[in-house]
């Protein structure tokens, strides 16, 4: 199965800009389906990003984050070819991760 995570990390000067897009329903638990039943909450709780094994960013999310979450941030350091690892865990305990290289 293709990864749920897509990342673009670009190094410019001494700063690396990271954009991540994750495929996830991010069900809030407040929405009803076509039969009028509540869809139970199902959302990513934590997404963490490591640069060469060192954490650079931690996102804690509630169900108010939009479906297929998008995230952009930047950190100092990091150069083309360095490894960047993105991982997430949702409220049902599912996880996914992706390791990519900074461009």
């Amino acid at each position: 199965m293709a990864s749920s995570i897509r990342v673009r990390a670009t190094s410019r000067g001494d700063t690396t800009e990271v954009q991540a897009l994750v495929q996830h329903p991010m069900d809030s638990g407040f929405v009803k389906n076509a039969r009028g039943e509540l869809i139970p909450p199902h959302f990513i709780q934590r997404l963490a990003i490591e640069h060469d094994g060192k954490p650079v960013f931690v996102a804690d999310w509630g169900p108010a984050v939009s479906k297929d979450p998008y995230l952009k941030f930047a950190f100092k350091g990091g150069k083309a070819g360095d490894e960047l690892k993105v991982s997430w865990t949702d409220n049902k305990g599912a996880t996914d991760q992706l390791t990519t290289k900074i461009q």
């Binding site: 929405v31 709780q45 650079v56 931690v58 996102a59 804690d60 939009s66 941030f73 950190f75």
Partner: protein, 165 residues
Amino acid sequence: MNGSSSDRATLSRRVVLQGIATIAVAGVAGLRFDLTGAFAAANDAYPEDAFRQKSEADAIKALYGKTAEASDKVRLDAPEIAENGAVVPVSVSSSLPDVTSIAILVPANPNTLAAAYRILPGTTAMVANRLKMAKTGNVIAVVEAGGKLYSAAKEVKVTIGGCGG
């Protein structure tokens, strides 16, 4: 732990403010540092309680254990009008030094806290994401810098809600 001593001091204050009053009373630097490690790990957990709060004040208190003051050094970018409340682009940045955390709250939603970001040393005080908004209301950005909380708010008019049909 590779944080500087000021990071440690910040963390200690935060731990103290989270209700460990005895440490403040003792005020022994060594004791505080020893405990910082243990509580830093606890701090690391997903803030489930904060995400359950209904009001802005309760959510900020559950997350940080203190209150925020308005600041023009917190920059909040959100649209004036969101045609689709399911996808509202929101970004927060700050020119304040020593930013350690950024949180975004939507008080009009069933649960106020939408997202909380840990800004680690070396990471820029900026984050952009997309949030759901149930109806028209404020978006609030809270930035923790140097152990203090600063906030900014902006009203977003929502024409189609993001939390249900």
